[in-house]
Amino acid sequence: MIRDITLGQYYPGNSWIHKLDPRIKIMATLLYIVALFVVKDFSGFIVAFAALEAVIILSKVPRSFIWRGLKPVILIIAFTLLINIFMIKGEVLVQFGIFHITKEGLLTAAFMGIRLVLLIIGSTMLTLTTRPIGLTDGIEALLSPFKKIGLPAHELAMMMTIALRFIPTLLEETDKIMKAQQARGADFESGNIMRRAKALVPILVPLFISAFRIAQDLAMAMEARCYGGNLKRTRMNAMKLEKRDLAAGLLFLVFLALIVLQRILM
């Protein structure tokens, strides 16, 4: 069961969006989020929504996967909506007791709601269409200009790669330790939250020790395979920009221009 978890939430595919260079996708996602905050009225969201919709259709990712990405944050969205509906003062539409709903409140709530949903779906599309390794490679490449000021870009990316690789291994390890302790009568399922939290402490200690042991083994295996930092390292899948990456970049610039124009004109 524990072995079935997916890393990140990558949806394997071979679409145009999947094939784009991770660097382009990461930059576009960041700028898309910025663009969502540039937008000041609903008509701007129409442009943003259309752009996102185009990406979703091109990526061929089933909508159920996209909804799955939205599910964990639904509570946060609902909370934001409620706060906005009830707290903003203005023309009162409904009044009951001390609570009142205003026209401005409803509008702001709708506005914030749309912004949040677009923001989350936008960033979900990045992780859905980019392999975790592609993401770390992309981040490494984008951070490498900052190496000059001492940012260890390669080391950071290597840490992320290894972390991704060992998430399932450590989950398996946790599973093993829990089963071993359950076999000796440990109880993780009954009692209140405090008791259950306390029962987890004896799992963490062996888990940490085993994580250190794995780290030591891995460091030795990496040394045996001539790992010596980023001195003369090459990459098998060197990232290079293709025509489609340039096309995607241009299309995205058109989108940004539309957003900015809309902001100026409206």
Binding site: R3, I133, P168, T169, D217, A224, C226, R233
Partner: protein, 279 residues
């Protein structure tokens, strides 16, 4: 021609205890041996006999406290030789999980050549070839944690092969595998040796050691015996004394000979024994 040569090699682990005293444990005590180019050598011994420490000395993961380890004419204690030695002598470890670096099989196999600074097209060629050699090519896009132990170990071997070493040291590669995984991995090891890669297999399974050209028996940091499997297993009593055994078919053949059944020397496997008995 000797490829790896140990001259009076001693290795001590240093540990600081709670009181701050430095404790030294001598894991290897004045060992000398030679490993021929292209040969298949098995090193056997109980836990704590120093066989793993010896393996790590062969590719400069550890360097001798005293004495010398010479790999392809290079002294491993010289700092400049460390990288060339590690490129020539690759290593596969016991736990398949703890030696795979990347979350995708082919990226992991590419890790070694990437570190060596090989050109991307050449890495691609080596990765495909190495994965083909261990019959894992169709799994190249998979995540390692979804594979079986034997498959993971074959990936680790492919990772070593992709560095194009002249020698591979296997440090108990089958210890954590089920019988089927052990078979698969052993087959891969034999194939690699047949392709001319000098092979050193550290193991405590006698059946595996029986497949080598030469066996070195370690006990308490020293070499107790050295010779062909046939020569070694003939001294079964001494092996038992060191808490080591003799492979079942070898033992059976010996007992049968004692009872007057005419069997030739050099029977190491069940298949061979059956074949001889049927004659």
């Amino acid at each position: 021609m000797s490829y790896i040569k140990a001259e009076n090699l001693t290795f001590e682990y240093k540990k600081t205890n709670d009181a701050g005293d430095i404790l030294t444990t001598r894991a290897i005590d004045g060992v000398s041996f030679e490993i021929k180019k292209g040969s298949f050598t098995a090193i056997i011994g109980q836990n704590g006999s120093g066989k793993s420490t010896l393996a790590k000395n062969m590719n400069a993961l550890l360097t001798p406290t005293s004495g010398k380890m010479i790999v392809d004419g290079m002294d491993t204690s010289v700092q400049e030789n460390v990288w060339p030695v590690r490129q020539r002598v690759a290593m596969v470890f016991q736990n398949p999980d703890n030696q795979i670096v990347s979350a995708i099989v082919e990226d992991d196999v590419a890790f070694g050549p990437e570190n060596l600074g090989v050109d991307p097209e050449e890495i691609r060629r080596r990765v495909d070839e190495a994965l083909g050699g261990v019959e894992m090519y169709e799994y190249r896009k998979k995540a390692p944690h979804l594979l079986s132990g034997g498959q993971k170990q074959r990936i680790a071997i492919a990772g070593a092969v992709a560095m194009e070493p002249e020698c591979i040291v296997f440090d108990e590669p089958t210890a954590m595998l089920d019988p089927r995984g052990r078979q698969e991995v052993l087959q891969v090891i034999r194939n690699l040796n047949a392709r001319g890669i000098t092979t050193v297999l550290i193991t405590h399974f006698m059946e595996e050691a029986a497949q080598a050209d030469k066996i070195i028996v370690m006990d308490k940091g020293v070499i107790r015996m050295e010779g062909t499997p046939d020569e070694i297993f003939r001294r079964g009593d001494e092996l038992v004394e060191m808490s080591l055994g003799v492979p079942a078919p070898v033992e059976l053949a010996m007992e049968l000979r004692k009872r007057g059944i005419d069997l030739p020397e050099g029977i190491m496997t069940t298949e061979k024994l059956v074949e001889e008995l049927v004659k």
